[in-house]
């Protein structure tokens, strides 16, 4: 029943002034005014809410933030964060149509392309490596092209560049920095892509690359999606199953309650990760099975809390009053018990998501559940184990990500407890 402001100010029943004022302002203002009396916890909730929101946005639109696709091999392996990428670059005549290494592929039997490199330089090795990689990929394709360049070695950089101008070689593969120094002297030549096919990565990779050359940052951002999918899905499933069961057990009581509680307590007694491992082992690896495994893990938590709350709410006088007006049991559950039990559920949900994400990461860390090609923090952490001394960034950043997201959700849940729990509030 909407009330106009005039109606409110004329007829407001007595109450302390701040309560009266609060009734007249909108929701957003109320949120800010809440700062005053919730104290530090308001800040916890605000900051963690911002954090959670950020994670959610990244999870929904990882493409907006991630510079690369998570499985793209974008750089050399083990590149430290921020290190300059000194990739060998292709140098071609200005009018050439060749832009990347793959453009050199020709049908089998045709003349092999010639490429000039500086003698004794590691670029030769890189060129070979890259050519082989590309060859592997394209040879199975229907067109049947092959990439097997003939490598001509020259004693100096100028020599290689001259060879391209002469036409002896189709292109030269030289170190970027060296080329930049003498670029001006060869106006008929231009840079094409780097050896890996990407045009330029001037800034380097912010968080470095992993063992096969994938960008750590991109994998991190894309990994948010999996983490949150697992976290939210399993929490929602647990909630949808655990809450009604808890309500019914608490309300009905008797043997039903006892049996169910027995079942739930047994489930609860299992160490979480072990149970999840067992279930995934039985069901097989896939995201769906991970979600199922983790959901099963947390159903007892919701069940216990909701059942406890239901039991205590059941004893309240207003439930007796509801019975006395002739309400049916279902009505009492829906309109009297459920709304009074819900706030605690909201708080558990938040912390539960954090826990689920952690368990999910643990499972994929152990190699269970997720196909290894997916970008997932747990998998990344597992991969980075071996290289902790040489490429610390491979394990650190995914680890930090897990920590931060769990922290954000947990803080929010804890902060919400203080705000939503009226008993604590009235002190």
């Amino acid at each position: 029943m909407p009330k106009t402001k005039e109606q409110l100010s004329k007829t407001i029943p007595e109450g302390t002034t701040w309560e009266v004022e609060l009734k007249q302002v909108g929701f957003v203002r109320r949120l800010f005014m809440a700062r005053r009396w919730y104290g530090a916890d308001w800040w916890f909730v605000a900051i963690s809410a911002v954090g959670v929101l950020a994670f959610i946005i990244v999870a929904i639109f990882p493409g907006l933030f991630a510079p690369f696709s998570p499985d793209a091999l974008v750089g050399p392996s083990f590149l430290a964060p921020g290190a300059q990428v000194d990739l060998p670059v292709l140098v071609v005549p200005v009018k050439s149509s060749i832009n990347k290494l793959a453009d050199l592929a020709v049908p089998p039997g045709a003349a092999r392309p010639t490429v000039a490199v500086v003698e004794g330089h590691p670029t030769a090795g890189a060129l070979n490596e890259q050519a082989q990689k590309i060859d592997e990929v394209i040879k199975d394709q229907p067109k049947g092209l092959r990439l097997r360049p003939i490598i001509d070695r020259y004693p100096t950089l100028a020599g290689t560049l001259q060879a391209v101008i002469n036409g002896t070689d189709m292109l030269a593969v030289v170190q970027m920095t060296e080329y930049s120094a003498v670029k001006a002297q060869f106006p008929t030549l231009r840079e094409a892509a780097t050896i890996t096919g990407v045009t330029s990565t001037a800034g380097g990779f912010i968080l470095g690359t992993n063992d096969i050359g994938q960008d750590v940052l991109s994998r991190l951002l894309w990994g948010t999606r999996i983490a949150l999918i697992i976290g939210f899905s399993s929490s929602i499933v647990s909630l949808v199953i655990g809450v009604p069961l808890g309500l019914m057990a608490g309300f009905v009581g008797g043997t039903f309650d006892r049996l169910l509680s027995l079942l739930m307590d047994s489930l609860y007694a299992f160490p979480g990760l072990i149970l999840a491992i067992a279930i995934t082992a039985v069901l097989g690896p896939s995201i769906l099975n991970i979600i199922i495994a983790i959901s099963v893990l947390y159903i007892p938590t919701y069940y216990r809390i909701v059942r406890g709350q239901t039991l205590s709410v059941k004893e309240e006088v207003y439930i007796e009053a509801a019975k006395s007006i002739g309400a049916r049991s279902l009505e009492i559950l829906q309109r009297y018990i459920f709304p009074n039990v819900i706030p605690s559920v909201a708080i558990i949900f938040s912390v539960n998501v954090a826990d689920a994400i952690l368990t999910g990461a643990g499972l994929s860390f152990l190699g269970l559940g997720l196909p290894p090609t997916l970008a997932d923090w747990g998998i990344d952490v597992a991969r980075g184990q071996r290289f902790i001394q040489t490429a610390w960034w491979m394990i650190t950043f995914p680890g930090l990500a897990i920590m931060l997201i769990v922290l954000a959700f947990t803080l929010m849940g804890e902060g919400l407890t203080e705000i939503f729990n009226p008993k604590l509030r009235d002190r």
Binding site: E14, T16, T17, W18, E19, R36, W37
Partner: protein, 337 residues
């Protein structure tokens, strides 16, 4: 301070910090408690009487503070003492009896241990035997049989527990006992016996008792003098006879008329209009003015002083402070005329 006044409260103010701002639960209250008397402190919920009772022992929790006032107990101003010396006074010189004895007693300690521990804490040189003897003697005097001393609080009834509370206060020969709603949770017959007990203890031990309650009847049954509080201020103080038979403050008058008297033939109960005011934004001038049937202009503007109306009978009401009231009325006439 004259010898017959045990506790002189002067201009006491107790403030609470709440979400809406600072609230004065007790606002500039002065009261004298005479030696050997039972003083009934009466008022509705929220008037500040319980806060006042706790403040007398400087027993208040976090958000509360005492920004102003003097508490002259037996010749010393308790506000001058450091808090840790207050613990020596509490229990030993001033005892307190709370409303719900169940939560004031330690559920895992026997009654006897409650008593002996209290004695030992304040008088450590007492031997175990002597302490026990004292405890038993005291319990007997208060109607608690010796055998029951070995019981735990949950095994005793409400009335018994209240007696235990009093015995704890008496164990150290306290001079003043503050009883905060001691009978509210008790049945009426037990309540009557408890009040009898208080009166006996007053006679026998010369005990001074501050009886805080919202029940006017209890005050009439037990108190020698009565103090009425309204909205954190003192409205009226006088002997029980004076206050009940010739109440001066309109609030007291209304209160007395609104309480059913079982000895009278059913008359109409008086209905006081309005509500107790918010302490966050109290009314201007006299706090009772929005509900007062005798309200005058001066009542809205200026707060009346708490002054004697007739001898020892004090009240804070403009009806009796005629000089100032007339002055203001005169001023108004001059303005209007």
């Amino acid at each position: 301070m004259s010898d017959d006044i045990l506790y002189s409260i002067r201009n006491l103010t107790v403030e609470y910090k709440t979400r809406g701002g600072a609230v004065r639960a007790v606002d500039n209250v002065s009261l004298d408690i005479r030696r050997g008397e039972i003083l009934g402190l009466v008022g509705e919920s929220g008037c500040g009487k319980s806060t006042l009772g706790k403040a007398l022992m400087r027993l208040h929790d976090g958000p509360a503070s005492i920004p102003a006032g003097e508490l002259w107990f037996d010749g010393r101003n308790l506000m001058d003492l450091p808090l840790r010396e207050m613990t020596d006074i509490r229990g030993a010189e001033i005892g307190m009896v709370f409303q719900d004895p169940m939560t004031s007693l330690n559920p895992v300690q026997r009654i006897l241990d409650h008593l002996t521990e209290t004695i030992h804490t304040h008088e450590p040189e007492t031997s175990d035997k002597a302490a026990r003897a004292r405890a038993e003697e005291l319990a007997e005097r208060l109607g608690i049989r010796r055998e029951r001393l070995k019981e735990y609080p949950h095994q005793m009834s409400g009335g018994m527990r209240q007696r235990v509370m009093i015995s704890l206060a008496l164990a150290l020969r306290a001079k003043l006992v503050i009883a905060d709603e001691p009978t509210t949770s008790l049945d009426v017959i037990v309540e009557a016996k408890f009040l009898d007990l208080l009166k006996e203890l007053q006679k026998e031990f010369g005990l001074t008792i501050l009886l805080i309650t919202h029940n006017i009847g209890v005050v009439a049954e037990a108190a020698d003098r009565v103090a009425v509080m309204y909205a954190a201020k003192m409205a009226e103080v006088g002997t029980a006879q004076d206050v009940f038979i010739d109440p001066k403050h309109p609030y007291t008058q209304g209160l007395l008329k609104s309480v059913p008297n079982i000895k009278l033939d059913s008359a109409d109960l008086y209905k006081m209009g309005g509500q107790p005011p918010s302490l966050l934004h109290p009314p201007s001038g006299c706090r009772f003015h929005p509900r007062c049937p005798f309200v005058m202009d001066v009542c809205r503007d200026k707060e009346p002083a708490f002054e004697p109306v007739a001898g020892d009978h004090l009240a804070s009401c403009w009806l009796y402070q005629t000089q100032v009231a007339n002055q203001v009325v005169g001023d108004q006439e001059v303005q209007n005329g």
